[in-house]
């Protein structure tokens, strides 16, 4: 089963869960925010509208009262024009009017030319002044009906805190009304300001009243008498002054607000109601917070889901990778088993199959380099079931055979290598991989795998897997080579052994032959000498006896040489057989001393035997032991001119030491190490007889007994030859009881 890659799994999970949730939250916030904004805007617009209506009604009512006052009270007093004014009536009327109308603090009358006639409260200094420059005068003359000015400046009042309401006073309506003059009431803005303050206190909405000239008549917190202009660039204000209501966001003292503009009909004023955005959007803000909280919770859940999903996917991938690793291990193990269980081509065939399965290839081929023919020979190949085309073998051969060791060693993509001018038909072949089969620096062959055209590429893991397989192939090939080499070596060895055996036999035959051929004439020499000495054929004189003795002793010496040579050659050939038995050495030493004593006496030498500290049994061949001691003693006698020779037996804890001590010429230190070599007699100056083999034979016989031998010597003082034999452990007890050792055997 192929799993999604981890990254794509995460992306997939995120898309199918996160995107719908995010969209849902976003749209909920958008909808709620826009509805809250709309609601807030509607509220502001409503406030503005209400205020506009209220203000209009208020001023309209004042205007109506002023008009009524003009028609009912002032018209009779002013009837007939300026020359007929009833000055007392006018003054009383005005006084009454401002007393009744609390909002109007000043009222006055002008003639049609704008000359002040009367004013209440009374101001005599103003009477007779022309007020033609005032706003109200221009306005009322222009429309010839009650007129409400903006923030009005008038010569009748210095402070800018009132609105002038002017109305013409005419004759009774008839055919042609006659203008008698104007009545003007100044309406204090105090009233409007109070209304605005109350409005803001009650519902948080600030209301601002702006006149047609752009002066602010009232706004929350405005000080009466101060003059404030509405910002000139406000397009919404220009539209509202032309009679179009509108809404717009605005910033007021750094606070985000929603503003609604409502024209006041008939006056050319505009009411602006502004609501702080936080107030207007409070509900939307709360909704958004709620939605964001929900979104946060969902995000956390999404994250947890992602982590859980990730770990599940990861675990699944791990188990899949574990399984694939187990499979690859199984294949490698099978290959390893094949290497051990099978040999040669069969094992290579298994390796090729396992290699193909291991890297999921469509076919594999294994080539072996033959250094003699300088060819890469295809030895095994394997194809998947749907690729059992017999032509594949040829294809595999074509892939393998052009490989030279150097080329095979540069492992990599086969297709790249094929580019090197090799005639390989690549039809149908897809990705391929080639690794060398090497042993150390030597390239033994190559292992190639190939997938069909259109298959996915091999990756680096496949290359290391293939290299492991190639090592198994190396094992097989190396084992085969070792087997062949070993067989050849064994053949040579057995040939050599046979030759050695033959040579050895020839040597033995030669020695036996030589011994025989020398002994026959020696028999005559020694035998006839003895016959002469016997005197059977006439007595010999002293001189003749001496000569014949020389012949006899020379013959015997020659016989000794022959015997020694035979012994040495037998020892060296490993044919010396010891007949070992537990023996005590004391009596044997006495025997040897007895046999050699005549020789000692000839030279006037003493030959003694000393046994020190017991005579434990040793495992030895009596004949050969005698030979060893005889050789050492003969040697000692030979090199001793005066004094004597002592044979000493010394029992050591685990060994028995036999020493032959002489008072002879001694051996110079440089010669000591050669003393046991064959034919190495010390230069003695005298005609010393001997085979020169005695010490060599003694040394070898001691060694055959598992003992040690050595020599200490001082020139002019004498020598001590010694050897030690191990005490026979098993036989010691039985022999110890049977024969008590002799302390000393006298000569």
């Amino acid at each position: 089963m192929r799993l999604l890659s981890r990254r794509s799994a995460v992306v997939f999970f995120f898309v199918i869960t996160g995107v719908p949730i995010a969209l849902l939250i976003y749209s909920a916030i958008a909808i709620s925010t826009s509805s809250a904004v709309a609601q807030a805007e509607n509220g502001a617009a409503g406030s503005a509208q209400t205020s506009a209506v209220f203000i209009h009604q208020r001023f309209e009512a004042v205007a109506v009262q002023v008009d009524t006052f003009a028609k009912q009270t002032m018209a009779p007093a002013m009837q007939g024009g300026p020359n007929h004014y009833d000055m007392a009536g006018i003054g009383a009327g005005l006084s009454d009017f401002i007393r009744v109308q609390g909002d109007v603090d000043t009222a006055f009358v002008t003639d049609p030319q704008g000359q002040l006639v009367s004013i209440a409260p009374q101001r005599n200094d103003l009477v007779g002044k022309y007020l033609t420059g005032d706003d109200w005068y221009r306005g009322v003359r222009a429309q010839n009906s009650p007129f409400v000015s903006g923030l009005s400046s008038t010569a009748a009042r210095q402070s800018l805190d009132s609105v002038a309401i002017a109305t013409p006073v005419t004759s009774r309506p008839g055919a042609a009304p006659v203008l008698y003059g104007y009545v003007v009431a100044l309406f204090g803005l105090q009233q409007i300001q109070e209304f605005v303050d109350e409005f803001q206190a009650s519902n948080g909405t600030g209301v601002c009243l702006v006149d047609s000239a752009g002066f602010v008549l009232a706004e929350p917190g405005l000080e009466p008498g101060s003059v404030t202009s509405w910002p000139a660039g406000d397009a919404m204000m220009r539209g509202a002054l032309l009679g179009h209501p509108g809404q717009a966001p605005m910033t007021h003292d750094g606070v985000q607000e929603l503003a609604a503009y409502a024209p006041v009909p008939g006056f050319g004023w505009v009411v602006v109601a502004d609501v702080p955005r936080s107030v207007a959007l409070g509900a939307a803000e709360r909704l958004r917070m709620t939605m964001l909280t929900i979104a946060g919770i969902l995000a956390v859940m999404l994250f947890v889901g992602l982590v859980v999903g990730w770990s599940l996917v990861h675990r699944a991938q791990q188990s899949a990778s574990y399984r694939s690793r187990m499979e690859s291990l199984t294949r490698l193990n099978e290959a390893a088993r094949a290497v051990h269980a099978e040999r040669g081509l069969r094992a290579l065939q298994i390796i090729a199959s396992r290699a193909r399965e291991l890297v999921v290839a469509d076919f594999s081929a294994l080539g072996v380099w033959d250094p003699e023919t300088r060819r890469m020979d295809l030895v095994a190949h394997d194809a998947s079931a749907d690729l059992s085309d017999p032509a594949l073998q040829h294809l595999a051969a074509r892939l393998i055979e052009p490989r030279k060791p150097a080329l095979a060693a540069s492992r990599g993509m086969l297709v790249e290598l094929i580019g090197d001018g090799h005639d390989v038909d690549r039809r149908g072949l897809g990705p391929s991989l080639l690794v060398p089969v090497t042993a150390g620096d030597r390239v033994l062959g190559c292992l190639a795998v190939c997938r069909l055209e259109g298959s996915p590429d091999f990756h680096s893991l496949n290359e290391s897997q293939l290299l492991q397989m190639s090592q198994h192939a190396t094992s097989v090939l190396e084992k085969a080579r070792h087997d062949t080499e070993r067989e050849a070596f064994m053949d040579r060895l057995s040939d050599t052994n046979a030759e050695l055996e033959r040579a050895n036999q020839l040597k033995s035959q030669f020695l036996a032959r030589m011994s025989h051929e020398l002994r026959t004439p020696l028999s005559a020499i020694i035998g006839f000498s003895e016959l002469l000495l016997e005197g059977g054929s006439g007595r010999l004189n002293q001189d003749q006896r001496g000569d014949v003795n020389e012949i006899a002793s020379a013959g015997r010496l020659l016989l000794d040489v022959i015997n020694d040579i035979l012994d040495l050659s037998r020892i060296e050939a490993g044919r010396m057989r010891l007949d070992r038995e537990p023996i005590r050495l004391g009596s044997l030493l006495t025997d040897v001393a007895s046999a050699l004593r005549p020789l000692a006496h000839e030279k006037a030498l003493e030959l003694r035997v000393a046994i020190v500290g017991g005579d434990p049994p040793v495992l030895a061949d009596p004949l050969r032991f005698r030979q060893i001691v005889t050789n050492l003693v003969s040697n000692a006698l030979k090199f001793t001119r005066e004094g004597g020779v002592t044979i000493r037996l010394l029992a050591l804890p685990k060994e028995v030491e036999v020493s032959v001590l002489d008072t002879g010429i001694g051996i110079p230190p440089p010669a000591l190490e050669y003393v046991f070599d064959e034919f190495s007699q010390v230069e003695s100056g005298g005609g010393l007889e001997g085979t020169g083999l005695g010490l060599s034979i003694a040394q070898r016989l001691v060694q055959l007994h598992g003992g040690s031998i050595g020599v200490d010597s001082e020139v002019g003082v004498g020598s001590r030859f010694w050897f030690r034999l191990p005490v026979a452990a098993g036989a010691a007890a039985s022999l110890a009881l049977a024969a008590p050792p002799a302390e000393e055997a006298a000569p």
């Binding site: 011994s515 002994r519 004439p521 005559a524 003895e530 016959l531």
Partner: protein, 120 residues
């Protein structure tokens, strides 16, 4: 009188053996090879046969078997220059009554013959 059949192809050894034994008072008949020896043994009685082993034509081993076939009681001694270890044992196993290696001490040969000739 004790008679000894001395078998050896070497004339020097024939002379030496004859002199050594005749001086001791033995009658000595000499044969130069195994065939002669067997024929001589059939012709007259002997007390001891001293047999060299290596001889032309019929060697000492064959001659010993031929003589033992017709005269089982007649002692046959191997007298040989083959003096390798074990030669003595091999000869006794083969049927020789005794063994003496060349070169021999003349006294040694005489005492051997004396011992075998007086054997009942």
């Amino acid at each position: 009188m004790t008679s000894v059949l001395l078998v050896d192809d070497d004339p020097r050894m024939q002379v030496l053996g004859r002199k050594v034994l005749e001086r001791q008072g033995y009658r000595v008949v000499v044969a130069a090879d195994g065939g002669e020896a067997a024929a001589a043994a059939d012709t007259e009685p002997f007390d001891v046969v001293l047999m060299d082993l290596e001889m032309p034509r019929v060697d000492g081993h064959q001659a010993m078997r031929l003589i033992k076939a017709s005269h089982p009681a007649l002692p046959v001694v191997a007298v040989t220059a083959y003096a390798m270890a074990g030669d003595s044992e091999r000869c006794r196993e083969e049927g020789f009554d005794d063994y003496i290696s060349k070169p021999y001490e003349i006294g040694q040969l005489r005492s051997l013959v004396a011992r075998l000739a007086t054997r009942p």
